[in-house]
C-alpha cells in the first residue's frame, strides 16, 4: 500500500530481464547481417552507383523516427487515459532514442543530398518533414526536463506528444504542398522509384535490426528509470525515518 504501484513493478522487471538478452542478441545479429548484405552483397544502383548504400541506413532511420514518435503518442494516450505509470516511463524512455534516429535520418539524408545535388541541405518535402519531426522531439525532451517535479514533466510531455501526433499529418501535408509549389521539377526519390528484390532484403533486415535495437534500449532505459524511482523512494523514506525519530527526542528532552 505504501509504495506506488510502479515503485516495485516486479512483473515488468522480471519480464524485461527475460526479454533483454533475446532482443539484444537479435538486434546485433540482424544489424550485423544487414550491414554485411548492404555493403558487400547488394548491387550498386544503375543510376546512383555505390551511393545507393546510404539508403540502407537512411530509410530504416527515417522509418524508426516516425514509428517511435507514434509509439510515444500511443504510450502517452495510455498514460493520460488510464494513468498507467509504465506508459509514462515508456514514452520518456523512447523519446531520446527517437530523437537519435531522427538525427541519423537527417544527416544521412543530407549526405545523400550532397552527393545528388551538391548542397548539404535540400528542402525536399520528406527531409523537411523529418526536420520538423526532429524539433517536435527536441520540444518534448525540453518540456519533460523543464520541471523540478518529475511527475509534472511526464504528464505535460504526454499531452505534447498527443498534440504533436495530431499535428504531424497536417504539417506533412502543408510541407508537401509547399514543396510542390516551390520545387515542381525535381523528383527527389531517396530510395529510387522502385527497389528491386536484391536491395529489398538488406533493407528489410536493417529495418528489423533497428526495431529490435530500439526495443532493447527502450527496455534498458525503462528499467533504469524504474530503479531511479525506487532509489528516490528509498532516500525519501530514510529521510522520513530520521525525521520521525530524532526531533521528538529533541523536543521531549
Amino acid at each position: 500500500m505504501n509504495l506506488h504501484r510502479f515503485a516495485n513493478p516486479a512483473r515488468f522487471m522480471r519480464l524485461s530481464s527475460a526479454l533483454l538478452p533475446w532482443c539484444g542478441a537479435g538486434a546485433a545479429a540482424l544489424i550485423g547481417i544487414g550491414l554485411y548484405l548492404a555493403l558487400f552483397i547488394a548491387p550498386p544502383d544503375y543510376q546512383q552507383g555505390e551511393a545507393v548504400r546510404i539508403m540502407f541506413v537512411h530509410v530504416p532511420a527515417a522509418w524508426m523516427a516516425s514509428l517511435v514518435y507514434a509509439l510515444m503518442a500511443l504510450a502517452s494516450a495510455i498514460a493520460l487515459i488510464w494513468r498507467h505509470p509504465l506508459a509514462d516511463i515508456a514514452a520518456l524512455s523512447a523519446a531520446p532514442l527517437g530523437a537519435g534516429f531522427t538525427l541519423l535520418c537527417l544527416v544521412t539524408g543530407s549526405l545523400w543530398g550532397e552527393r545528388m545535388w551538391g548542397t548539404w541541405w535540400v528542402w525536399d518535402a520528406r527531409l523537411t518533414s523529418v526536420l520538423v519531426l526532429f524539433f517536435l522531439y527536441l520540444g518534448y525532451l525540453a518540456l519533460v526536463n523543464a520541471f523540478d517535479e518529475p511527475g509534472r514533466g511526464a504528464r505535460a510531455g504526454a499531452i505534447l506528444a498527443l498534440v504533436g501526433i495530431v499535428n504531424l499529418p497536417i504539417i506533412k501535408f502543408s510541407v508537401d504542398w509547399w514543396n510542390t509549389l516551390h520545387q515542381p521539377a525535381s523528383v527527389f526519390r531517396l530510395g529510387g522509384p522502385t527497389i528491386d528484390a536484391s536491395m529489398l532484403w538488406p533493407l528489410a533486415i536493417m529495418v528489423l535490426g533497428f526495431m529490435l535495437f530500439f526495443a532493447t534500449l527502450l527496455l534498458v532505459r525503462m528499467r533504469t528509470t524504474l530503479i531511479e524511482a525506487k532509489i528516490r523512494v528509498l532516500l525519501l523514506s530514510e529521510i522520513e525515518r530520521h525525521a520521525a525519530a530524532s526531533p521528538r527526542q529533541a523536543v521531549a528532552s
Binding site: M1, N2, L3, H4, A7, E149, P150, G151, A229, R232, V233, L234, L236, S237, E240, R241, A244
Partner: protein, 217 residues
C-alpha cells in the same frame, strides 16, 4: 477498494472514505475517512507537510485521490465535477486578487463567475466597503486576505474549504471570519478549514492528519 462502494456512502452530507493522497513519489496520507453533516465544521490540524492542504485540494476537486472516494449526499463527487464545483468555495494560500483592478471589480468578477451575488454586503461584512473603489495594489496583505475571504459571502455556496484562513488577519478580521463561519453553519452549510492558530468553533470536529500518515516504506 471496498466492494459495493455506493452502499457505504452516508445518505446525506459531505464524506470521504479511505482517502489516500500522493505527492510525487510520496504517499502523504492513506486510509483517511471523515463525515460531515449539514451545519457541521471540520478543523484539520497536523504538522507542516502532513497533507492538510492536499486534503483540502482533494475535497475541492483539484486532482484525483490516489485511493478512496468523496461523496456528497450519497453520490460520489467524481461523477459530476461541474456540480461539485458549483457547490463549493475554495480559498487557498494565494488571494487571487488582481492589483490593477479595484476591490469592487475583483469581487464583482468572482461573484459574477458564480452567477452573481451581493458584492456590497460582502465587502461590508469584512470592513472593506471604504476601499471599494481603490485599486488592490494599494491594499495591505491583511486587507487582500480579507478581500479573498469576502468571496465566500459574495456568492452563496454550501461547502466552504478554507486553507489556513486565519493567517495574516488582525483580531477584528478574525471576529468577522468567525461570524461568517457561524452564519454559514446556521444556514446548514459545511465548513472545512485547516489552521495553526487557535480558532474556537462550537461543536466542530477535528481531524489530525498525522494520524493517517502513510508508514514510510
Amino acid at each position: 477498494m471496498p466492494a459495493g462502494r455506493h452502499t457505504m456512502l452516508p445518505a446525506a452530507g459531505f464524506a470521504g472514505i479511505d482517502l489516500a493522497c500522493r505527492r510525487g513519489e510520496r504517499l502523504v496520507f492513506a486510509g483517511l475517512s471523515f463525515s460531515l453533516a449539514a451545519g457541521g465544521a471540520l478543523v484539520l490540524t497536523g504538522p507542516n507537510g502532513s497533507g492538510k492542504s492536499s486534503l483540502l485540494r482533494l475535497m475541492a476537486g483539484l486532482g484525483r485521490p490516489e485511493a478512496g472516494v468523496l461523496s456528497w449526499d450519497g453520490a460520489p463527487v467524481g461523477e459530476d465535477p461541474p456540480a461539485h464545483r458549483a457547490r463549493l468555495h475554495f480559498i487557498g494560500h494565494q488571494e487571487a486578487v488582481k492589483p490593477l483592478l479595484s476591490v469592487a471589480e475583483n469581487l464583482a468578477f468572482w461573484a459574477g463567475m458564480r452567477g452573481g451575488g451581493d458584492v456590497g454586503q460582502a465587502l461590508a461584512r469584512f470592513r472593506l466597503a471604504a476601499f471599494a473603489g481603490s485599486p488592490c495594489r494599494l491594499l495591505s496583505a491583511g486587507q487582500r486576505r480579507r478581500l479573498a475571504l469576502a468571496r465566500l459571502l459574495a456568492s452563496p455556496a454550501p461547502l466552504w474549504l478554507l486553507d489556513e484562513p486565519a493567517t495574516g488577519l488582525d483580531s477584528d478580521a478574525l471576529d468577522d471570519l468567525q461570524a461568517a463561519i457561524a452564519a454559514q453553519r446556521e444556514a446548514g452549510g459545511f465548513v472545512v478549514l485547516s489552521t495553526h492558530t487557535e480558532l474556537p468553533m462550537a461543536g466542530a470536529a477535528t481531524l489530525c492528519l498525522s494520524d493517517f500518515a502513510a508508514r514510510p516504506a
